[in-house]
Symmetry: C2
DNA sequence: AAAATAGATTAGAATCATTCTAATGTATTG
DNA sequence: CAATACATTAGAATGATTCTAATCTATTTT
């Protein structure tokens, strides 16, 4: 029974019911000053700590995917065995330290791409993502 | 039995033993005119067809990862539940049709990136990958 | 050159990220 | 306030990947 007004409104206006599971997840994901990157497993761990009521991992998947479909989250294209999600839904790119599994945003204003090749016939561009892999010096 | 000389040499010089499993996999992956993109599952299917002797899926994983470590293959950064590998080990980028799970190479000469942001401190750039997602027109 | 040892490789079994689906919950209708 | 339709949850199933014990191969020892 906290300050869920905003989340309830947004869920309703997206056609999603504001269940207590979804509101708890909204609180963890969106009641922050800064956006961040996460995996389902990291999200699960935040619910295991905190005396927050248990949420099934299947529900975490359902909810995160529903939020992604509604545009509250973006999925990041990365190799590796866990999917990364991003609460920053603006167009942007990433530095990625594979060794640390650490992502850092790069504003898309700071990247310019001049690609010459024509798009394969019958297709149009949907998005352009730049991933700059980094590693420790030396 | 076949013309494995080249593969045997390369494996030996990388410190990998030229087992019959590895040679069979080399033949499928590298005895071609054009490079290509594949998943472990697609590779598995090519061995299920053909009367080629059965290779355990674990061995496909072991071998593909060993080949990647030795630089015969690259892993492609994509979301989705199956990892894509690339027999094109030159620096290059991709068009990707998520709906079709279809990758097309973009030569890196055809892409120029001017990124302003400094690399996070203590880190250096390892690689830059551009993924252009495409979809059907209209 | 056979046997012993060490190290590499294979592949069945285990794991774990993700998806499926039957049960439960919620809104809408009469 | 039923009854019905639809949305949501979460335990179970799936499937991609990894683990590890058994097997194979190369090297060293006798
Ligand atoms: Mn992937
Ligand atoms: Mn991923
Ligand atoms: Zn981001
Ligand atoms: Zn490629």
């Amino acid at each position: 029974m906290g300050q869920y007004k905003f989340h309830i409104e947004r869920l309703r206006s997206s056609g999603l019911r504001p269940t207590k599971q979804r509101l708890a997840i909204c609180k963890v994901l969106f009641d922050r000053k800064e956006t961040f990157h996460f995996t389902i497993d990291k999200l699960k761990k935040t619910f295991e700590k905190g005396t927050k009521k248990k949420i099934s991992v299947a529900t975490l998947y359902n909810t995160v995917h529903a939020f992604k479909e509604k545009g509250y989250l973006k999925e990041i294209s990365l190799k590796g065995n866990q999917t990364f999600f991003d609460t920053n839904t603006k167009n942007h790119h990433h530095f990625y330290d594979e060794h640390m599994s650490q992502l850092v945003d790069i504003d898309d204003k700071n990247v310019s791409i001049n690609y010459l090749p024509k798009t394969p016939s019958g297709k149009k561009i949907k998005s352009i993502e730049v991933l700059v892999k980094i590693e420790d010096n030396n």
